[in-house]
């Protein structure tokens, strides 16, 4: 009976861990290539982008919102960063050319992501546009801007320094894994230990009670969308750096993978309940599953079917738990 006293959100995290463990166990039996260090780093590098997006998505979903625009913001920020790096910025009428070092280009890319996310938050709070609609609009807008900016062509050859972010190693660990780990650690502290994090949960749990408690709801919400945008930009920079190329079609349907990770991690779409670590686990489960199916030579079409079933199963189990 004592086991029943674990709060449901922790129980579901516990269950995801067991599921992940079983998944790894099965895959390591089925494929001798699964349980190797090289493959482990490979998986972690692959999931790092999704986890970046999932962290932002968790914050948004905790406030009972949703952000459909992160895939497009990822592409636009990646493309802008790449083009600044490669071509700089020319103002012909002023006869001015500005060149960008990798750091500068990355900063602009990040700022753009934060700005677009902030714009999402602004339309949602100032004009009461439902988050689904506001970010659906941004999904289209940012994708269109990406096409305009790149002319529909990839931007290649971005230099070794920039490539280090996506492909380099530091202290024996791939850079994207470092970056993602730092973001996750920061987000865990943010949600659990800070006033901002508490406000995020309070708004998602009961917005009216939060408002009556003097919390500046709109400020918190705008910050949350800005963070989601910024983290999408991080994802965009990582993807661009790893491929040494900004693809205009990058990040298509990544928002759905991020939502899937958040949901598998036990976060409630109605807000107020869930955790960053849950989303990380969800992201890893999706990543391991994809990787395993590739190693087992399963058709990519089947991979999609399996992923969908896993999402469904995870939420069904979660619901069955909370009903008790």
């Amino acid at each position: 009976m004592t086991a029943l006293k674990i709060p449901t959100h922790q129980l579901s995290r516990f269950q995801s861990l067991i599921a992940l463990f079983i998944l790894c166990l099965v895959l390591s039996i089925l494929s001798d290539r699964f349980l190797t260090t090289a493959n482990a780093w490979n998986v972690m590098r692959q999931v790092s982008v999704n986890i970046c997006l999932s962290v932002g998505m968790t914050l948004v979903i905790l406030t009972a919102g949703i952000d459909l625009s992160v895939g497009s913001i990822l592409a636009l920020c990646g493309a802008v960063t790449a083009s600044l790096l490669k071509n700089g910025l020319a103002f012909e009428s002023l006869n001015l050319f500005v060149g960008f070092a990798p750091l500068g280009a990355v900063m602009v890319g990040l700022a753009l992501g934060v700005g677009l996310g902030w714009f999402n938050g602004w339309t949602i709070t100032r004009f009461s546009v439902p988050p689904f609609v506001a970010t659906l609009a941004m999904l289209t807008i940012a994708r269109g801007l990406t096409m305009l900016w790149t002319g529909g062509f990839p931007i290649n050859g971005l230099g070794e320094q920039f490539a280090f972010l996506g492909t380099g190693w530091f202290l024996g660990i791939p850079m994207p894994v470092w970056i993602t780990a730092v973001i996750v650690a920061w987000a865990v502290l943010l949600t659990n230990k800070t006033r901002f994090g508490r406000y995020v949960y309070a708004i998602g749990g009961n917005e009216r009670a939060a408002r009556l408690s003097g919390i500046a709801i709109n400020k918190v919400k705008m910050s949350v969308y800005a963070l989601a945008g910024g983290l999408a930009a991080v994802g965009g920079i990582l993807v661009t750096s790893r491929l040494d190329s900004a693809q205009p079609n990058a990040g298509i349907s990544y928002e759905l993978d991020a939502i899937a990770a958040v949901v598998i991690g036990g976060t409630s779409l109605s807000g107020g309940k869930g955790s960053i670590l849950g989303a990380v686990l969800g992201g890893v489960i999706i990543g391991v599953l994809n990787n395993g199916l590739v190693l087992l030579n399963v058709s990519p079409f089947w991979q999609q079917v399996v992923k969908g079933l896993v999402i469904l199963l995870a939420v069904m189990i979660d619901k069955a738990n909370t009903r008790k």
Partner: protein, 512 residues
């Protein structure tokens, strides 16, 4: 006990447990046609569980139900309804976006021969039902535009339309004003004449003596006593419910000082939907240090609106002046009102007071996190201290400050809301229906707390639709009627309820 007729509904030694906790133990009772049976018990005594079994909400239980002598089992509320048993829930079950008519006929809409909805018929029947419950409303009005009390009456209309033989009413008067209670009682008397059996749950004993015939007392899931109300008294019933003597205490009140804390002058609140119309007009009052000021009014008088206007929840609609702690209102945001020293314990603690998924400590600290952080980080030790302090002071019954508030009883939840606001160290606390839906012992505790806070020098403005509550806690009472203050009455032993009620009832030709 001799009964003239056979029981319409017989509950035979029913037991039910939740996750190992026994909620009902071998409870038996009979509901007779043409009789109102009062179901009494403190919160957690098992009343709601029992009613939910009777109305088919819970299908897994031990024991048997008999309807008109035949054994019956219900798998869901629909099967109970089909058998003629329906329940009016304490928490409202209406769909806000749908109109009254659609709600009343939900799930059993009459259709024309072509299979389309028979709107005309529904409208006519609905109109008749609304007239029966004394609501002068268009059946096509969306439910979300109705006040809570009106919604309660719509629920009752819906139950009437089912033409049930057994009606269960769970706290039907908790959200309605006294003149609506009169309408409800009139309906109940008619139903009695028609031979319906009614189970009536209420904490308000006066009501029960007025309307009920028999009573059943439950305590801790067990049947304590059944009998006829004419053979017992309030005090005897309360003794059975709690196992000890208890009543609404009139507390000593000697704490009022001459320092004015809150000064409201010529306050007006415009109607956001209709220009040039006022929800409140010409409101003047002072609230003194150490004073409990009651605010009484019938439904629609503007009680909640007044609190919202004071607390900065109606920005742009408030005219006039508010002065508190050296600051001038009207305040534009709750934060501004809080900085001036106001706190608001709202009417609906689940919807507005608490974040149910959070624990006691997190709810207690929510409005004062600014003081508990250093560099954005929450000082968890300080938070726990704060929560622990109020848990002790307010005697919140809990397994610990990390217990989630959704698992607390109504009275304890209300104490957590109070703790949250006391933590802000307010000068003036506004309380909207502070004891709505909580049991008598918890009510008395809340009253005591309110009086203690006054003694400590706070000013309290207590909105209540229950006159005994006003008489039990307040030093003075402001009476609101149709958005205007119609009387300010000092309260002492001789204050009569009649005088307050007279001031609250709208006059025939109200000034606009």
């Amino acid at each position: 006990m001799k009964q003239p007729t056979e029981a319409l509904l017989r509950v035979d030694s029913i037991s039910k447990s939740f996750a190992g906790i026994q909620a009902l133990q071998q409870v038996s009772l009979d509901l007779y046609p043409g009789k109102v049976t009062a179901i009494l018990g403190e919160n957690g005594a098992g009343k709601s569980t029992l009613m939910k079994i009777i109305s088919g909400v819970y299908a897994d239980y031990q024991g048997r139900l008999f309807y008109a002598g035949e054994p019956v089992t219900f798998t869901d509320p629909k099967s109970a309804q089909d058998r003629g048993i329906s329940m009016i829930h304490q928490e409202l079950n209406l769909i806000p976006q749908l109109c009254i008519r659609e709600n009343v006929f939900l799930g059993r809409e009459p259709r024309t021969s072509l299979g389309f909805l028979d709107v005309k018929m529904m409208r006519e029947q609905c109109q008749a039902l609304l007239e029966r419950v004394g609501l002068a409303l268009d059946p096509d009005t969306p439910v979300e535009q109705l006040k809570v009390g009106q919604q309660q009456l719509v629920e009752i209309a819906k139950a009437l339309s089912l033409d049930s033989q057994v009606l269960i009413m769970d706290e039907p008067t908790s959200a309605i004003s006294e003149n609506e209670v009169a309408v409800l009682f009139h309906i109940i008397r008619t139903l009695k004449k028609e031979g319906k059996a009614i189970a009536y749950i209420s904490h308000k004993l006066d009501e029960l003596f007025e309307i009920a015939d028999n009573y059943v007392v439950l305590r801790d899931g067990k049947l304590i006593e059944t009998g006829a109300l004419k053979d017992t008294s309030s005090d005897a019933l309360i003794r059975k419910m709690v196992g000890r003597e208890l009543q609404l205490h009139r507390n000593d009140r000697s704490s009022v000082s001459s320092d004015c804390l809150l000064q409201v002058r010529d306050l007006a609140l415009t109607d956001p939907n209709r220009e040039q119309r006022y929800l409140l007009k010409a409101i003047d009052f002072d609230l003194f240090k150490g004073e409990v000021l009651g605010l009484f009014g019938l439904m629609g008088a503007g009680r909640t609106e007044l609190l919202e206007a004071l607390f900065g929840l109606r920005p742009g609609q408030v005219e006039g002046s508010i002065a508190l702690g050296g600051r001038k209102g009207p305040f534009r945001r709750p934060k501004e009102a809080m900085q001036a020293g106001l706190g608001l314990v709202p009417e609906d603690r689940k919807q507005e007071g608490l974040v149910l998924g959070m624990d006691i400590a997190q709810n207690t600290s929510l409005a004062v996190l600014d003081e508990l952080v250093s560099g954005g980080w929450i000082q968890e030790g300080k938070e726990a201290q704060l929560a622990e302090k109020y848990r002790r002071e307010l005697q919140i019954k809990t397994t610990g400050i990390r217990q989630r508030v959704e698992n607390l009883s109504g009275g304890n939840q209300q104490k957590v809301v109070l703790a949250k606001w006391l933590a802000t160290k307010p000068k003036v606390l506004l309380l909207d229906e502070p004891t709505r839906g909580i049991d008598i012992p918890a009510k008395n505790e809340i009253y005591k707390l309110i009086r203690n806070l006054a003694t400590e020098g706070l000013g309290l403005l207590v909105v209540s639709s229950e006159l005994p509550e006003i008489l039990a806690v307040a030093d003075r009472v402001l009476v609101l009627s149709e958005g205007r203050l119609t009387a300010t009455i000092p309260i002492d032993e001789s204050t009569s309820e009649d005088r307050i009620l007279t001031a609250a009832i709208p006059k025939k030709h109200p000034s606009p």
